[in-house]
Symmetry: C2
């Protein structure tokens, strides 16, 4: 493994201002000796924050970018009109520089997707997607694609998402033949909205996919499939409804523990908070690009930089094993 | 209140066979003195089951219907080709007989909707929808429309659902000005798929509605809105993902309680099971029909007949208060 792994951080996308990801970087650098960062944003501001934080500057580089992509920017416009924004400067650097491994941004998902397609497309005809790897009841993981990057999808796009999700689970999670399912309103092949019904035979006919059929929302994270395919609107619902329900039940449990004065229940609540802390899962990986680009949530805290950096280290390690294996064959 | 309230039961729609709803009726009759049933299905079979169950036959009527609607029937076909099915015989009786108050079926949702529209439409131009009244975190209730009766919707249909949901929450839950929200992938007005974006201004402009904008999946059951509007595909996801997540967390808690040997945690698990038992919520009300038709889930147990009967009694009581109020004015 080339050490350290150098990751570009778009400091300006966070809802909580640019200092969060800078202090997040400081935390990650302390914990992970094999990581280095390129911090993109307002140069003077970043330098000042770094000096306050006792940042190990031998593993930090600063790239100046005064402009900013906001949540109100439209993807098509922003990638042309805001070339000096931290997000697009970061994407461009990632595409041009061989020493950069991946990127983290918490900014506008649509612009990140469009910018990624412009600067880092693996194959122009394939639509990238935003994935989330979610923990399942049986201890396995399911890669949900798309989780909200493309809200209105065509059957062809869902087909691409299925292929990209399979490739990702094969490469990163070592699942030889990832089971792919379509999210629907019933398990039967006849169930689904127009999009699902049109997509079903396309997935069934593609021999590169191990398509197992439709899955309903209550079985979405049962572990039955390795890749769960849906449009970005439905994927956003699965992700957020899961999160909302978990948060709500845990809040109820904390209240119950206090009311009943039960330390055992309070201990359980802490346990559940660590298991179901979807916010700490890091971020979604934009699949279909030449290099890993991770979309962190807009309201991410500083700890997210450490967990995403760990994801990068895992990806790098798997990649190295693969590259060695390929060279051996 | 006209006593007893007479409810028609389609005995053949259940995944678990016709005996479940017959024994369910026996249970309900024991608990609720103000209820009576018309059991629709195979006459001999029902009579035999009733005799086994010590059924109070003074509150039971049997209507013969040999045929059956299955989950494979297409709505448009079934309502014409299966007039002798238990579902359509029940719907027809409900529409023709003044002594019948409402109906319960666990059968094919699409056929039930189409049959309801054919026999019981309040207004031909309005698209009925399947609602689910779900308990919210703040103790209030949100009426989710549609939960899966119409999978592919137009903006006009969502508009109807908003009006029907508002009317229902006003009439049944006594909320004078129900707050209506659109389920979307972001709270901003600009967020949504094509359907949501087209529907937004229609809801915003209708002065009969108290439209509060978009709501994301993680806030769907926060209690911020009284009526949550979405297409049947998305509604099905909200409903089932909530159920799946709750079931999963409760299963985890039971395992944890056993592992840790904690009776306090086990008591909590029992408490949560009663609060989050979505299966026992009864069923979805098909809004937009002249009389209440409740769709129970296909795999409902016998207890569901009692909880739905209780819903009918509540509706009847509210209706009576309303009718009295109207007559007084």
């Amino acid at each position: 493994m080339i050490s350290p792994i150098k990751v570009v951080i778009d400091t300006k996308g966070s809802d909580n201002g640019p200092s969060v990801f800078i202090s997040g970087a400081a935390l990650a650098l302390k914990k992970l000796p094999d990581i280095a960062f390129v911090l993109v944003g307002d140069e003077e501001f970043i330098a000042e924050e770094c000096s306050k934080l006792d940042m190990p500057m031998d593993r930090v580089e600063i790239l100046d970018a005064k402009d900013e992509v906001t949540n109100f920017d439209k993807p098509g416009d922003a990638i042309f009109k805001k070339p000096n924004s931290s997000m697009l400067v970061a994407l461009k650097a990632l595409s041009e520089r061989d020493d950069l491994f991946g990127m983290i941004s918490a900014g506008n998902t649509g612009v990140l997707l469009a910018g990624g397609m412009r600067h880092l497309s693996k194959e122009r005809r394939v639509r990238p997607c935003l994935s989330a790897v979610l923990p399942c009841q049986d201890g396995s993981f399911t890669c949900l694609v798309d989780t909200g990057a493309t809200i209105d999808c065509t059957p062809e796009m869902l087909h691409h998402f299925a292929l990209l999700g399979s490739e990702f689970m094969r490469d990163t999670y070592r699942i030889e033949n990832p089971k792919v399912a379509l999210l629907s309103n019933g398990a039967e092949a006849s169930k689904g909205n127009a999009l699902v019904k049109e997509t079903f035979p396309i997935l069934a006919e593609d021999e590169r996919l191990c398509f197992i059929g439709n899955i309903e929302g209550n079985r979405a994270l049962s572990g039955e499939c390795d890749v769960l395919v849906c449009d970005g609107f439905a994927g956003n619902q699965v992700f957020k409804v899961t999160e909302g329900t978990a948060t709500r039940i845990i809040t109820d449990i904390v209240k119950y523990a206090k009311r009943e004065g039960s330390n055992e229940v309070l201990a359980l609540a802490n346990h559940l908070m660590s298991v179901y802390d979807i916010g700490s899962l890091g971020g979604g990986n934009i699949l279909g690009l030449k290099k890993p680009v991770i979309k962190a949530r807009g309201n991410s805290g500083e700890k997210v930089i450490t967990s995403i950096s760990q994801m990068f280290l895992n990806i790098a390690q798997n990649k190295e094993i693969f590259d060695t294996a390929k060279n051996t064959i």
